[in-house]
Amino acid sequence: MQRTNPVSFDTLKRGFLSGVNITWKLAKIMVPIYFVVTILKYTPIINWISKAFAPLMKLFGLPGKAAIVLVIGNCVNLYAAIGAMASLDLTLKEIYILAIMLSFCHSLIVETTIAKKIGLSAINVILVRVSLAVVSGMALNLLL
């Protein structure tokens, strides 16, 4: 594989297209999730979710509704989590905690499949990532 190219207009073009591509991929997933969660906010369902997950989310200094972001991020992907996160009214501290937790642990279905192909067991990979997310979330809650 060729590892270096001369820097040219092509570099700028590739970077721009890659950025646009990421934004487009993100928008396709993020916007529908944003709509769903915004509508959810005006239904009683959000209160049920908030109440049910409040004790668990309290460990990380997060409101119960933040569980939606973590579940969507792990079952779908980071882009979907961002959509949910943007539509909920969260404080900056809560966003920091979600950002660090999601950084370590997201897209579990797709990414665990990749790790499995290399040879690690699924349970092992999921356990490591969930533990990193839980520990970092709790630590950040205490630090901030």
Partner: protein, 152 residues
């Protein structure tokens, strides 16, 4: 109901816009860095770490690719290196541990920066924790270890 839909439309549009303003410049910067050979330099920068883990030096490039570009790209290079018999099974496992915790760090960090998160903090925290965890794993899985069950 119209109010709710309008709120969602405006809110999601603004979020996407903010993300685009951060992600596009960062991806342009990344292409420049790639073209001036930063991936190779980063590989050299990571070589002491690769050594600490007791991995072969060939593990450095797939590690950097995974960290910078993403898990699936990284995995592609890991497979390639493995097929050419450059990596041991232990190297494969340690690389995967590092990369499941930290991959595509520029893209992911850029997205969260759009929400006001400090990029350097997130970047350092993620790489630091991944590096430390992989270190612990490298102590647990001994180089002479052939007990694959223990690694899995």
């Amino acid at each position: 109901m119209t109010n709710i839909l309008a709120e969602a439309a405006v809110g999601s549009f603004n979020s996407v816009k903010e993300i685009a303003f951060i992600v596009i410049p960062i991806m342009i910067a990344m292409e420049f860095l790639k073209d001036i050979g930063v991936l190779d330099k980063l590989t050299q920068l990571f070589s002491p770490l690769v050594k600490i883990y007791g991995m072969k030096k060939e593990a450095g490039f797939p590690l950097v690719i995974g960290i910078v570009i993403g898990l699936s790209y990284g995995a592609g290079f890991i497979f390639q290196a493995a097929e050419e018999d450059k990596l041991s099974r232990r190297d494969l496992y340690l690389l995967t541990y590092f990369l499941v915790a930290a991959h595509a760090v520029f893209e992911d960090t850029a997205i969260f920066m759009a929400f006001g998160v400090n990029g350097i903090f997130l970047f350092v925290a993620r790489l630091g924790v991944a590096a430390f965890f992989t270190y612990l794993a490298s102590r647990w899985i001994k180089p002479e270890d052939t007990d694959l069950e223990k690694m899995r």
